[in-house]
């Protein structure tokens, strides 16, 4: 017994020592994570595991943008420290790492936690501890519940909005064609299908897939049998590539229309390898500047930050996304003012009115905590996406899909937003 107790004591001691040093970064004053010259925020990201492909580039890009801001003096003299924790896209790990960030590291806020299943589990915990939960990296409608989760805000346009916009394009461009739908078997697929059916009515055939089973043969077979002309995909990049590849293998050549989160051209090209020409003509949507648009001032800014602070990582839409998250967070900090508190930060986000890299405005208000309000259709030609027409906005209820005519904002001279 005593022998065991000794071993246990040694283990506990070792575990205790290993993390003992990180508590010192707690805030002075009343606001956790904030001192006169620093702000500590955290995130949970799939740096390893099934969702790591592509998505693992997001947080380092956000961090690079913060480093750029810090090098230019920070926000009201405070430098941002961004603590990235790996949860491997496993909800049980998310619980662990978010608790560590909030209870042990005493972060000021959680930023851009990635994933619907992972982040859903920590909503109640963050609410109880009154931690601002900003710009969740997912388009689930769960984040938009201001009454239930007053501190949680989304970033992506929600999947229903996206479904409506994609369907409106399909209705107009492929009138009278048979439309089918393949979605991920969770909120992502379901919300997207709801949006599609609001515009198109019941689709001719619908199928689902699960991430743990990398085979969409039966689904594509069913679509071929149903003679679908257009297939709408609500899928992550790996399954977009898999669906397009599988369809080609069985000699099925529909028009593919793909959700934004599953449509990054560089990720898809890499995944498909020699079969990449199959991507020609694929329709998708986006709401941020495209990585290949060299003339866009935002892309020029992001490329500069990427080469200086991100080790010149491969520049794709995930990097654009990560830096745009960083830009929006800095805007929120500016809005919260010099005397930073958690309540002031959420109030600043609720006030809304941010103009930034997005093609459409954000929807933030006291009644609405969802992110961007719409998207613009893109088409893949020669391995590059280009924008078609104008951006569209809509809501996740029965509102019409309307063209948005506001002009795109240009970044400030030094690339850092000022208080509005």
């Amino acid at each position: 017994m005593r022998r065991t107790a000794t071993v246990l004591a040694a283990l506990l001691l070792a575990a205790g020592c290993s993390n003992g040093n990180s508590t010192s970064s707690g805030g002075s004053g009343n606001t956790p994570g904030v001192t006169d010259n620093s702000i500590l925020i955290g995130t949970h990201q799939p740096l390893t595991g099934p969702a790591a492909a592509g998505y693992s580039e997001i947080a380092p890009a956000t961090k690079a943008y913060f480093d750029y801001v810090n090098a230019n003096g920070g926000i009201y003299g405070r430098k941002i420290t961004y603590k990235i924790m790996d949860d491997g896209y496993n909800p049980a790990n998310t619980q662990q790492v978010v608790r560590q960030l909030v209870l042990q590291d005493k972060v000021f806020a959680i930023l851009n936690g990635l994933g619907t299943p992972t982040h859903t589990g920590v909503l109640d915990f963050l609410k109880t501890n009154r931690v601002p939960d900003l710009f969740v990296a997912s388009g689930s409608r769960t984040w938009n519940q201001p009454g239930k989760y007053p501190g949680t805000f989304g970033f992506n346009p929600d999947y229903t909005i996206e479904g409506k916009i994609l369907a409106a394009y399909v209705k107009q461009t492929y009138a009278g064609k048979k439309v089918c739908f393949l979605g991920q078997d969770d909120d992502f697929g379901r919300d997207s299908l709801a949006g599609v059916e609001k515009v198109l009515g019941t689709v001719a055939a619908k199928q689902t897939y699960v991430v743990t089973n990398p085979n969409v043969g039966p689904q594509m077979g069913a679509f071929k049998a149903a003679a679908c002309d257009v297939v709408i995909l609500a899928s992550i990049p790996g399954f977009t590539a898999l669906s397009i590849g599988t369809a080609a293998k069985i000699g099925f050549k529909p028009q593919f229309v793909v959700s934004n989160v599953g449509s990054d051209p560089s990720t898809l090209t890499k995944t498909l390898g020699a079969a990449a020409p199959l991507l020609e003509g694929v329709v998708a949507a986006n709401y941020l500047p495209l990585d290949t648009d060299e003339s866009n001032p935002w892309i020029q800014l992001y490329k500069k930050v990427n080469s200086q602070y991100n080790g010149n990582a491969a520049f794709d839409n995930n990097v654009v996304y990560g830096m745009s998250v960083g830009y929006l967070f800095v805007q929120a900090l500016q809005g919260a003012g010099k005397d930073l508190t958690r309540d002031k930060l959420t109030a600043a986000v609720q006030k809304g009115g941010f103009t930034g890299p997005g093609l459409v405005p954000t929807r933030f208000s006291a009644q609405d905590h969802s992110g961007y309000a719409g998207e613009q259709i893109t088409k893949l030609t020669g391995g590059k996406a280009t924008y078609l027409g104008t951006p569209y906005t809509t809501d996740d209820a029965d509102g019409a899909v309307t063209a948005y005519s506001g002009a795109a904002a240009t970044p400030p001279q030094n690339g850092i937003p000022t208080a509005q």
Binding site: M1, R2, R3, T4, T6, V7, L8, L11, L12, A14, A15, G16, S18, N19, S22, T23, L47, T48, G49, S56, A59, P60, I84, M85, D86, G88, Y89, N90, P91, A92, Q95, Q96, R99, Q100, L103, Q104, T116, P117, T120, G121, D124, F125, T128, D185, D186, D187, T208, V210, V211, T212, N213
Partner: protein
């Protein structure tokens, strides 16, 4: 020094050392845990609660594998059974304690069914069967996605703890109440006739049969008892994570559990405790090392490496596991 004394005391006869009764140890354990929950900061309390939840399943597994010689790679799946039962119950009725009891009951029944099949299998075939059980969890959740909600899983409705008790402290109490109860029951079970039967069947089935021990019945019972522990652990994990999903109970979890009890010391409840502590401590140590090294991508993978290295080292230095560790031991040299 104390280790040396202890070692010499138990050297002459391992089977019947003058032990203090399990009840006293459990009461002492309960006092220590309650005291710790008042001293530790919230995050440590959460880790303590996780250790308690792991302890339930490692204790059950070490009885099955260590004392009865049945290898199970499917305990992660049994935990998932308990967790999903609790989640479905909570979302309908929101009564925690009956829900945990039901989770244990349902997992016991599932364990009984697997145990019936397992009693006919030996060695690698048994491992194969239990492996299949662990692999099939995601398929079940996506086949019956109306109930289990596929990969996304279910969230678990939970009431806040009574009064002004912090959530983490409440979780630690709950998990350790479960763990200590499990240990108490197991300790008394393996001390009596059941424990003798387990060992007899493990050591020599024919001899056990000749001595009048029902081999198949003992094996099924061992699996049932161990499954009940896994069900309890699963339910506690559902409470801790406030959500259940197939991703929380992957095949690697089952492998980790097995590694933990082997490193801790197979067949000993104290070994199961050490294993449970390691399951929480090693990933945390690995993560802080990765952080210091500055590599973000190392974090998720380093824990695996760590476990492997520790397993190899422990097997080289102390084949009986950490619980059987005896520092500079003369008798071994003389024998060898």
């Amino acid at each position: 020094m104390t280790i040396l004394q202890d070692a010499t005391k138990t050297k002459d006869h391992q089977k019947s050392p003058p032990k203090s009764t399990p009840l006293l140890l459990v009461i002492a354990g309960a006092i220590i845990v309650v005291a710790l929950t008042y001293v530790l900061p919230p995050f440590r309390n959460y880790q303590l609660a996780t250790i308690g939840a792991y302890f339930c399943v490692t204790a059950g597994l070490t009885v099955l594998t260590g004392l009865n010689g049945q290898l199970s790679l499917g305990h992660g799946a049994l935990m998932a059974t308990g967790a999903y039962t609790l989640a479905l119950w909570q979302n309908k009725f929101d009564l925690l304690l009956p829900g945990i009891a039901l989770a244990v009951l349902v997992t016991t029944v599932v364990g009984g069914i697997i145990g019936l099949a397992a009693a006919r299998l030996r060695g690698p075939y048994l491992a194969g069967l239990t492996l299949a059980v662990a692999v099939v969890v995601p398929s079940i959740t996506s086949t019956f996605d109306k109930t289990f909600n596929s990969d996304q899983g279910l969230s678990v409705a939970l009431d806040p703890p009574p009064g002004v008790i912090p959530v983490e402290q409440w979780q630690a109490w709950l998990c350790w109440a479960g763990a200590l109860l499990t240990v108490l029951v197991l300790a008394y079970l393996v001390r009596g006739r059941f424990g003798r039967d387990l060992r007899a069947v493990r050591d020599d089935e024919t001899a056990a049969k000749l001595a009048g021990v029902g081999v198949a019945r003992t094996q099924v019972m061992a699996f049932v008892v161990s499954a009940a522990c896994a069900g309890l652990a699963g339910a506690l994990f559902a409470v801790l994570a406030q959500s259940v999903s197939p991703g929380a109970f992957p095949l690697t979890l089952s492998l980790f559990l097995l590694m933990a009890i082997v490193i801790g010391g197979l067949g000993r409840l104290t070994g199961a405790l050490i294993g449970a502590v390691l399951l929480v401590a090693l990933p945390s140590v690995a993560q802080s090392i990765a952080e210091d090294a500055g590599s973000q991508h190392l974090e998720g993978n380093l824990a695996l490496t760590f476990f492997g290295v520790v397993l190899v080292l422990v097997m080289l230095a102390a084949p009986g596991g950490l619980a059987a560790l005896k520092f500079p031991r003369r008798s071994r040299r003389q024998k060898g």
